[in-house]
């Protein structure tokens, strides 16, 4: 049973609905008893205690974020300590740099990522991974997943797969190159909620 350190009733978490599998993140948080809202506009960021950027297409997300001022508003909040969790495309959006394509990112966490690093969709896979301090293995689903190719010394690696970091944390920022929201396992979401 999940115990939220702050008391679940007091928290309100936003899930970016700009594009991607935001429904799955929302359902996961709701199952944990966390109040969750879908956020699409910059001003809506002021009414939540943290934000999840879901899986999807990072190029699409960044483009829309920039168009409507969501990019600047979110960047400013993150610099002031706003907790964020990004999965797959969300991790790319939060990264410092995309190494293999010319695209912008929020430069929130000190990691460099390579997009589609495991190949095309036919190479997408699922596998069991071990996560620091987790008692049981986690089923990780990698879909056209990015790979972290470089990370700064302030970044903590919580899990690795074949020598590459796949779950990382820096301050109040958590990123995963896979999709915990597609499983029934809430443990990584619990980890994030207790960072908020």
């Amino acid at each position: 049973m999940f115990v939220c350190k702050k008391g679940a009733g007091k928290l309100k978490i936003g899930v970016s609905g700009i594009q991607g599998d935001f429904r799955e993140h929302k359902l996961m948080l709701e199952k944990m008893g966390i109040e969750t809202v879908v956020v699409r506009k910059p001003e809506e960021l002021d009414f939540v205690d943290g934000l999840i950027i879901p899986g999807g297409e990072s190029t699409t997300m960044i483009r829309i974020m920039k168009m409507i001022g969501f990019y600047d508003a979110l960047k400013k909040k993150i610099e002031a300590g706003f907790p964020v969790f990004g999965t797959c495309a969300g991790m790319i959006v939060l990264s410092k740099e995309v190494t293999n394509f010319n695209q912008d990112s929020l430069k929130a966490i000190d990691i460099k990522v390579e997009r589609n690093a495991y190949g095309r969709q036919v190479d997408s896979f699922e596998t069991d991974i071990q996560i620091k301090d987790f008692k049981k293995p986690f089923r990780a689903i990698f879909i056209r997943a990015p790979k972290v190719v470089e990370y700064g010394e302030d970044v903590e690696v919580l899990s690795e797969y074949n020598g590459s970091p796949i779950l990382l944390r820096q301050g109040k920022i958590l990123v995963a190159s896979f999709h915990p929201e597609l499983t029934d396992d809430a443990e990584i979401h619990e980890l994030f909620i207790n960072m908020v």
Binding site: G20, R63, I64, R120, Q121, V122, S124, F125, E126, I141
Partner: protein, 292 residues
């Protein structure tokens, strides 16, 4: 254990397209315009449906050269179409490494009775449907994503609306149905009862459900989202419009902000001339009638 091509990996991939626009493109240059505009994926084609309609004859899978050229041009996922039932075309596209296959009524069917057994493939499939029975038959065959058929290449949204409303209406009906009626209902719509039961439990299709076939403006795209689509395919609507880059960007925005009239107004203000539309009654061929 590491597994590729599982249901989770295939259906999960489709979930990533939600709130996004998938655009038909026929050249590398168009693919780049689509990516730049914020498309979540492109559909690589020899011709857009409006031109397939005009050309007549047998429409087949696009040339490998063309699909390769488009795969090399963009970083977003690339989809391609195969003829209904054409197992060999699908095997070729899987070997090529396209990210998603559309077993599509827009091409001339290769089999007049059977669709592809999509469970047999590592690459995920999307299929068209006009109603719940058709959607669940395709899912039973292994489709990881469904789209309305609409009437492709017409720039007329009426058929897509009809198909989305039909599917949603049947889902609502199933939700309110007592358990003992499920088997008979499944028989009536020609769908496996376990999938009907899953629809009842979820209150939606067990896979992502996009709109397609006639979307030509940002308002059309927003309308489809209002009716319950998870996202939108735009075929001829972009590259048959006067200013494709502008139209593509506007439709992308409309699919995210479909529920925000002020934003829709802003998005729709400067989009140039949309593609010309066709009356459904005056069509020689109805593509939606293909598929079984």
């Amino acid at each position: 254990m590491t597994d590729k091509g599982t249901w989770m990996v295939k259906e999960g991939f489709a979930e990533m397209f939600k709130g996004g626009v998938i655009m038909d493109v026929t050249t590398a240059e168009q693919a780049k315009i689509a990516e730049e505009a914020g498309a979540v994926a492109v559909m690589a084609l020899e011709r857009v449906p409006a031109d397939i309609r005009k050309a007549g004859g047998v429409a087949r899978m696009a040339s490998i050269k063309k699909i390769k050229e488009i795969m090399e041009a963009v970083s977003i996922p690339v989809m391609a179409k195969v003829r209904i039932g054409h197992i060999a075309e699908a095997r070729i596209l899987e070997a090529l490494g396209v990210d998603f296959i559309d077993e599509s009524e827009v091409l001339t069917p290769a089999d007049d009775k059977f669709h592809i057994n999509k469970w047999d493939f590592k690459v995920p499939f999307v299929c068209g449907a006009r109603n719940l029975g058709e959607a669940l038959r395709r899912i039973a065959e292994g489709a990881a994503m469904i789209r309305t058929k609409g009437e492709a290449g017409t720039g007329n949204v009426v058929e897509a609306v009809k198909h989305m409303r039909t599917v949603m209406d049947e889902i609502r009906k199933v939700q309110n149905m007592p358990e003992e009626e499920l088997v008979r209902f499944a028989k009536e719509i020609g769908a496996p009862v376990n999938l009907v039961a899953e629809v009842k439990k979820l209150g939606r299709l067990p896979v992502v459900n996009f709109a397609a076939g006639g979307v030509a403006t940002p308002a059309d795209a927003a309308l489809m989202m209002m009716l319950g689509a998870d996202g939108v395919f735009v075929g001829s609507g972009i590259f048959k419009s006067k200013d494709p880059a502008k139209m593509a960007k506007a439709i992308v925005m409309a699919v995210t902000y479909w529920n925000d009239p002020e934003m829709l107004l802003k998005i729709s203000e400067d989009i140039g001339e949309p593609m010309e539309g066709l009356e459904i009654e005056e069509l020689d061929v109805r593509l939606q009638e293909r598929g079984w």
